[in-house]
Structures are given as structure tokens and as C-alpha cells.
């Protein structure tokens, strides 16, 4: 009996032993991993990644997942060279994460340096750093699960528990703030950030080149395009910083421009019409055109700028592009194409308004469309005073030069009145007269001067008008009228002499006397421009004698004049230029200094306005995302670049 019971017990034990649970590795849940990331379940995703490492079932995509977790939690994304990734697609996606990490560090560092309130606007960081964007709370365990407390030993039949996904963004901000505080002014830290980011851009592109044509598809095309554009924008931004530094090496700036251009030219070879919205493409075309213009390839630049405008640009970018096209066309002497751009001008509030109006008007004049030129100018003066800036002054001068070629009549007065405030009409008429003289239209100057004399009731202004009449007569070679008007400039009516005390006369007549000196001085360079023909020499000698006679007479009669020194100098100068004047001979023989060289009239030309031109600085939005979110149930060609639609709120540094 005992034997029977023993046998029965042994059989029972053997049977029971087959029911024993073997100690084996835990198996991973079958649900997709990257879907957890896409659904923003960060704690669950991180647990899943930890499970893969625990069960030694990870692959290259496990590293990608860890990279995403590090990026989201503001921790350093590991160096890809330390990971030994084999899958080319995984290498590209991971390189994008490294690039985003570098971009974040640069943007946050620059914001901390500049003490700006927000950063990362219009990028993924505006969402990633929002505390509620990801589900960071560890899920409660479902029923039937046991939670083991941490121990030193690890059991293979267990899996890592879900942990709350804590963000390290505060620590990142503090550490960057410390580095900024330690080196705020030498710029070395900032340069490191940029250098790292540029290196990361190159790494993404290198990884992309290793892909075969059938890997990745549209999402990779979009990613590589965005990476190229981002690289170009970064280099452009660095070049702009150097341009603002007076001591920067121009060759270095040009090198940055060339490098940026290379990125954009590579980007333009991608087919992205269906993949990227028109706003991004238009800004890329704009930057492309600006860079080509900087590198003196205007014909290529024009094409890109026109494409950018066709795709649609923001107001400032649109007018910047259009203005640049106008300038490029003018520089290439394509006046008709430039004139065509004047059909629309920027709004008065645009920084391009004045220069656009000026150059546009010039182009209209160049092609002979004077009516449109005047219409454009008059419209511009209605929106902005001609004294407002150098371009409006230049346009004003151009208008005066144009209307000075026509007789001074009612239409001229009308135009001069409409060009600015009514109470400054006299000033404009006077300037018209001066321009008329300059352009060899003395009859217009004389008519304008007479109009002024008839209407300006303030007698203190009259000497200038008589000076205009005198100069007109000079240009007309009319000695009699010249002398008459010179006498009127410096007239000392007895009625005035009776009431003005002796000691006050010099200051009382100072304005008139100065006008005489000015008018006579203006004659000298004009005479110098007559040339050296015999007729010109005769004419010049005649007028020099008149100047000598007039100054001599005035100096003898008015000892108290404040313009005496200037007139004495003029007298000597004119005397020295006379062929037969004894003084002139003596002056020439005994002179130790060279005779004064009278140059032609110095005029302000368009080249000198270049320093006032507004810089063409396209407003470029940052690339929203330089990363790809892998998905398990979606083909790589359709992988998104982010989780949800972006919002525009910026993350606080």
C-alpha cells in the first residue's frame, strides 16, 4: 500500500511539475510604438522604449524613439555616431532630431542673450514646450497587473514600469542662461551654437544622400527641402550680422551668401509643389532672388523674384521684392521693364515708398513718359512731403528739372503749388528758378523771379529775386538788365537810410549784400564751363570786367557791409582771371599760391542716394519642423513632420 501511495505521489508531483511556470523573458506588447508618440502619449511611449531596451529587442528605431523622447524632454539628443545606426531611413530621421536639438539651443540661447520675451514662435518648440501638449502622466496599471518596487536586481520576466515623463526644459534654460551670463559679449558661445547647427544641417543632408530613390518618398523630400531652406536662412542671417559689423571681412560675407545660395539651388531641384505651401516656397524664392542679386547675378535674380511675387508674399516682402526688381532693371538699363513696375507703388506706410517712387519716376522719365512721371511724382508728394527724406528731395529735384524745360506759365505754377504746402509755394518757385538757371533756361528763371516779386510782399525776400533776375540776364548775356538788377539787390533807398542808424546798416542790409556775393560767386563756375573757344574767352573776359566793376563800385560805396570780405575775395579772384588787368598780372607774377580752381557745379546724383536705400531684408518665417514623426501604420512617404496643427504662441525662454 505504501508503494502504491508513493507511486501515486510521484505521478502527481510529475504532473504538477509540468504545470510549473518557466522563467522566461517578458514579451513586448503587440501594439504599435510610434503611434503612442504620434498620439502624444509620452509616458506610455517612453515606457515602450524602455521595454525594448529591457528585452534587448531594440533596433535602430528604438534609438530614434529615444531621440524623440530626449528632444521632447529638453535633454541632449545622443551623438548618432555613438549609436551605430544601420538603417539609412533611421539615420535621416535621427539626424533631423539632432538638428532640432541644435536649433533649439541656438534659438533659446539667442533669446536669453537678447533678453527677448519669447522664442521659438512658429516652430515645433512653441508646442513641444507647452506643459499640456503631451500626456506625461504615467497610466494607472490595469487590473491584473502587479507593480514591483525598484530593486538592484532585475528580473527578465518583468518590464519597466511607466514613469511620469518629466521635462528637463527648466534645467536646459538655466544652464543656457548660465553660459550666456558667463560669456555675454565675446560672441564665442553664440558662434558655437550656429556652428553646431550648420554641422547638423550638413549631417541631415549627408544622411539623405545615402537614401535610395524608393526610400522615404514625399516626407523625406519635404524634410530635405526644409533642411536646405533652413540652412540657407541660417547662413543668410549670419551674413546679415556680419554686414552690420563695419569691420567684417567682405569675402567672408560673400562666402556665406554663396553657401546659402548653394542650399537654395539644391532645394529648387526638389519637386515640392504639392508638398510645401506656397507661402514657404515664395519666401524661398525671395531669398533666392536676394542672394543672387547680392552675388551680382541680376538676370537670375529677376526670375526668382517674379516667381516669389506670383506665389504670394507678405506686404513688406512683396514690396521689397518689387523694389529690388526695379533697381535691378534700372541697373541693367532695362528702362521699359522698370517703368512697367510703376503701375503699382507701395503704400505710403511702407519703408520702400520713397525710393520706389523716386526710381520708378526716373524710369518713366527715361522712357519718355513724362506725363506718367509727373503723375507718379505728384501722387507721391500728396502722401509724403518732399522734405521728408533724400529720395523725396531727389524726386522733387527731378520734377523741377523736368518742368524747368517748359515755359513758366499757369500750369507750372499749379504744379508747384500742388507739390507741397501752400505756404511754401514761394520757396518752391524760387527753387524752380534756380533749377531753371542750372538747366540753362534763364527766361523761366526770370519769369519766376518776376512772379515772386509781384506776390511776395516781404521786401526782405526781394534781393534774392533780383539776384535771380541778374543771373538770368547774365546767362542771356544782357549786361544792362544784369546791372539794373544788381543795383536793386544792393539798393540803399534814402528813405531807409534816414531811418536806419549808421551802426545798424551793416546788419540791416546784410542779407541783401550776401545775396550779391552769392550771385556773383555763382557766375564764376558757369563762366568756367563755357570752355576755351575764342568767343567764350571774350565773353568770359567781358563778364569778369562787369563783376570787377560791380564789386569795386559796391566796395567803394559801402564800407560797412558784412559781405565785404567775401566781395573783396571775389573782386581779387575775378581780377586775377582778367587777361590784361594789372592787378591780375601782378597777382599772377607775385603769387605764391596757385590761382583758385573754379570747378563746375557740383550736383547731387543718384549714386549718392544709395546710402539711404532701405536694405532688402526679407522677413523669413522659421521652418516649422525639421523632424519627422515615424508612424507604424503609415508608409514613410506619409510620415508627418509634427503631431498636430501648429499654433503661433511662442515659448517663454
Amino acid at each position: 500500500m505504501t508503494n502504491h501511495w508513493s507511486v501515486r505521489l510521484l505521478v502527481a508531483a510529475a504532473a504538477l511539475s509540468t504545470g510549473c511556470v518557466t522563467y522566461s523573458h517578458a514579451s513586448l506588447p503587440q501594439d504599435a510604438r510610434f503611434e503612442l508618440l504620434y498620439e502624444r502619449k509620452l509616458a506610455a511611449f517612453e515606457q515602450r522604449v524602455a521595454m525594448e531596451r529591457h528585452t534587448a529587442s531594440g533596433d535602430d528605431w528604438t534609438s530614434v524613439a529615444e531621440g524623440w523622447v530626449a528632444l521632447i524632454n529638453c535633454r541632449k539628443v545622443a551623438n548618432p555616431e555613438d549609436l551605430g545606426l544601420q538603417d539609412p531611413l533611421a539615420r535621416v530621421v535621427y539626424a533631423g532630431l539632432v538638428l532640432e536639438d541644435a536649433r533649439r539651443e541656438r534659438m533659446l540661447g539667442q533669446a536669453l542673450t537678447a533678453r527677448t520675451g519669447t522664442w521659438g514662435r512658429d516652430t515645433i518648440f512653441a508646442r513641444l514646450h507647452h506643459p499640456d501638449f503631451f500626456d506625461r502622466v504615467a497610466d494607472h496599471l490595469p487590473p491584473g497587473y502587479i507593480y514591483w518596487l525598484p530593486e538592484d536586481e532585475s528580473w527578465v520576466d518583468e518590464l519597466p514600469a511607466p514613469l511620469a515623463a518629466d521635462s528637463g526644459c527648466d534645467e536646459l534654460r538655466k544652464s543656457l542662461a548660465e553660459s550666456v551670463t558667463a560669456a555675454p559679449s565675446d560672441g564665442v558661445v553664440a558662434q558655437d551654437w550656429v556652428a553646431l547647427e550648420i554641422s547638423a544641417v550638413e549631417a541631415v543632408l549627408a544622411a539623405g544622400r545615402a537614401l535610395s530613390d524608393d526610400q522615404g518618398g514625399e516626407s523625406l523630400t519635404r524634410l530635405l527641402w526644409h533642411t536646405r531652406v533652413h540652412g540657407a536662412q541660417l547662413l543668410w542671417s549670419e551674413a546679415r550680422k556680419l554686414e552690420r559689423d563695419d569691420g567684417a571681412d567682405p569675402e567672408k560675407i560673400a562666402a556665406l551668401h554663396r553657401e546659402a545660395l548653394a542650399h537654395l539651388e539644391a532645394a529648387s531641384r526638389y519637386e515640392v509643389v504639392e508638398l510645401v505651401d506656397s507661402g514657404e516656397r515664395s519666401r524661398m524664392e525671395l531669398l533666392h532672388g536676394v542672394l543672387l542679386a547680392k552675388l551680382e547675378r541680376p538676370s537670375d535674380a529677376l526670375g526668382h523674384l517674379a516667381r516669389a511675387e506670383a506665389l504670394g508674399l507678405s506686404d513688406d516682402n512683396h514690396w521689397g521684392s518689387r523694389y529690388l526688381r526695379l533697381r535691378l532693371l534700372m541697373n541693367a538699363a532695362l528702362w521699359e521693364d522698370a517703368a512697367a513696375l510703376t503701375e503699382k507703388v507701395p503704400p505710403q506706410t511702407s519703408r520702400f515708398f520713397s525710393p520706389y517712387a523716386y526710381y520708378g519716376a526716373l524710369s518713366l522719365r527715361r522712357v519718355g513718359l513724362e506725363d506718367r512721371f509727373l503723375a507718379l511724382a505728384m501722387a507721391a508728394f500728396r502722401d509724403r512731403p518732399y522734405e521728408a527724406d533724400p529720395f523725396m528731395r531727389g524726386l522733387y529735384a527731378e520734377v523741377l528739372q523736368t518742368i524747368a524745360d517748359y515755359p513758366f506759365e499757369a500750369r507750372t505754377i499749379e504744379l508747384l503749388e500742388e507739390m507741397g504746402p501752400r505756404n511754401k509755394t514761394f520757396g518752391r518757385v524760387e527753387e524752380f528758378a534756380a533749377v531753371s538757371l542750372d538747366r540753362g533756361r534763364p527766361e523761366n528763371a526770370a519769369a519766376a523771379a518776376r512772379w515772386l516779386l509781384a506776390r511776395q510782399t516781404d521786401a526782405r525776400e526781394h534781393p534774392r529775386f533780383y539776384a535771380l533776375l541778374a543771373l538770368s540776364a547774365f546767362l542771356d548775356d544782357n549786361e544792362r538788365v544784369f546791372v539794373e538788377n544788381v543795383a536793386k539787390i544792393t539798393a540803399r533807398p534814402d528813405k531807409l537810410l534816414d531811418v536806419v542808424p549808421q551802426h545798424r546798416r551793416s546788419s540791416f542790409f546784410a542779407h541783401a549784400d550776401a545775396e550779391l556775393a552769392r550771385a556773383l560767386r555763382l557766375m564764376l563756375p558757369v563762366m568756367a564751363e563755357w570752355g576755351e573757344t575764342p568767343r567764350a574767352r571774350v565773353r568770359r573776359q567781358k563778364w569778369l570786367r562787369i563783376i570787377v566793376a560791380q564789386t569795386q563800385g559796391f566796395l567803394r560805396e559801402t564800407n560797412e557791409s558784412l559781405a565785404r570780405p567775401a566781395l573783396v575775395e571775389l573782386y581779387r579772384l575775378a581780377s586775377a582771371m582778367l587777361d590784361d588787368h594789372p592787378r591780375g598780372y601782378a597777382e599772377r607774377v607775385g603769387a605764391t599760391d596757385a590761382a583758385p580752381l573754379v570747378l563746375g557745379t557740383v550736383q547731387l546724383n543718384a549714386r549718392q542716394l544709395a546710402q539711404f536705400e532701405p536694405p532688402i531684408e526679407p522677413t523669413l518665417s522659421p521652418v516649422f519642423s525639421l523632424a519627422l514623426v515615424p508612424r507604424d501604420e503609415v508608409q514613410p512617404a506619409n510620415w508627418p513632420s509634427f503631431f498636430t496643427e501648429p499654433e503661433s504662441a511662442g515659448a517663454r525662454p
Binding site: 504538477l16 509540468t18 504545470g19 510549473c20 518557466t22 522563467y23 524602455a50 521595454m51 502587479i146
Partner: protein, 219 residues
């Protein structure tokens, strides 16, 4: 060994299997907790155990018994149980000797049957690695039964309470060891008399509630 409750140490001393711990160390940081699906979940399960028992009361009787436990678990911690045990009670050697010499038998009567209803409360969960090959999952429990024992025509109100180790195996197989203390009242010739004893139960049974073949070890 791995347990969720410190009191388990006492119960684990009853199991002589050598303890082995995982020698492999995976990439889980030491400060990170872990999770595991319970092996042999109980919630909503019906259990049936064949039990064997001996009842030690120092009453000059030897008692052996066998019976059936039927149970149901409301959740992982709490379950109810019905117990029906047939008892084979005979005088011990000392009792026989007294009867032969003095013609006297004990005042207590031999018990024939025991029926109780009670609760089982799992206050923890543990597992033991045996021979580096097998893992035994178990629930340390506190049990409380109340019922009636029958000794001839006498009816004895009975309470059993104690600690238990409920071990889980594959296919729903369970082995349990209940270490119960008993308390009974018997109406003897001199009146109601309380008596106390010790009744270890060893049970082999099966839990049914949607069998899992070999449950996954992970979430």
C-alpha cells in the same frame, strides 16, 4: 524571491525550494520600478480544491479528513469560499490505552463532518525563482471560516482562521496550504466547553475564469 508584503517571509519559510535571482541584468536602471501581469489572476474566477486536513486538538483523537473547497473571487484581494470536509476520527493510542485499562472514553465526541463558509483575503503577491528555471507565483492570504462540525449527534459551532499560501501554476492549477487555528464549542456532559486546535489544509485545485494558456509576462 520577490514579495509585495513583508509578512510573507514567515510563509516563505515553509517552502524549501532554493531561491535564485535573475543573474541577467537588462538595461533597466536600478531605480526604475517594473510591472508584470499577474500570473493566475483571480478576479471573477471560480475555484475548486480537493483538500486534505488533519485536526490537532489534544483530545486523545487522531483526525484526518478530505474534502472540497468551492470559492469565488470578487477581485484580486477578496474571495469567498465554501468548505465541506469529511473527517475520519479515531482514538489515539493514548485514548485506546485509557479505554482498555479504565473503560473510559473522552468526553469529546469524534467529529465526522465539517462545513464552513468563509473569506480569503490576499494581502500581497509574490514569486519565487526555483532552480533558476521555474517561477512560482503565490498569493499570501488570511483566511477566516465559520461553520459547523458534526460529531455524532453533537453540533459544534466552529471558527477557523489562519494564514495561507495560494500557489499558481499553469492551466489554472492551484496548490494551497492553509494553516488554520480552530475554535469550537461542544456541549458535553458538563456543559458547553470550548476547544482550540490546529488544522492545516493542503489543497490541489483549479481556477476557472477564462483560462489563459501561458499568460504574457509583460503589460
Amino acid at each position: 524571491m520577490k514579495s509585495f508584503a513583508p509578512l510573507l517571509t514567515l510563509c516563505l519559510g515553509l517552502l524549501a525550494a532554493p531561491l535564485g535571482l535573475a543573474a541577467e541584468r537588462e538595461d533597466t536602471p536600478p531605480n526604475r520600478p517594473t510591472v508584470q501581469k499577474r500570473f493566475g489572476t483571480k478576479e471573477g474566477h471560480v475555484t475548486m480544491h480537493l483538500v486534505g486536513v488533519t485536526h490537532v486538538r489534544n483530545d486523545l483523537y487522531n483526525t484526518l479528513g478530505a474534502g472540497l473547497d468551492l470559492g469565488y473571487y470578487f477581485n484580486e484581494q477578496l474571495g469567498a469560499e465554501l468548505r465541506l470536509v469529511w473527517l475520519y476520527t479515531r482514538l489515539s493510542g493514548a485514548g485506546d490505552s485509557i479505554r482498555e485499562r479504565a473503560g473510559l472514553t473522552p468526553d469529546a465526541r469524534a467529529q465526522n463532518y465539517l462545513t464552513t463558509a468563509g473569506l480569503r483575503y490576499s494581502f500581497g503577491y509574490g514569486k519565487i525563482l526555483a532552480f533558476d528555471t521555474f517561477v512560482v507565483h503565490f498569493d499570501p492570504q488570511i483566511t477566516l471560516h465559520a461553520g459547523t462540525a458534526f460529531a455524532g449527534q453533537r453540533v459544534l459551532p466552529t471558527v477557523l482562521t489562519g494564514l495561507s499560501l495560494l500557489n499558481h501554476f499553469k492551466w489554472g492549477i492551484q496548490v494551497k496550504l492553509d494553516l488554520n487555528l480552530t475554535a469550537q464549542m461542544e456541549r458535553r456532559d458538563r456543559g458547553w466547553v470550548p476547544s482550540f486546535g490546529f488544522a492545516p489544509f493542503l489543497g490541489l485545485g483549479w481556477s476557472y475564469g477564462g483560462l489563459a494558456a501561458v499568460p504574457e509576462a509583460g503589460p
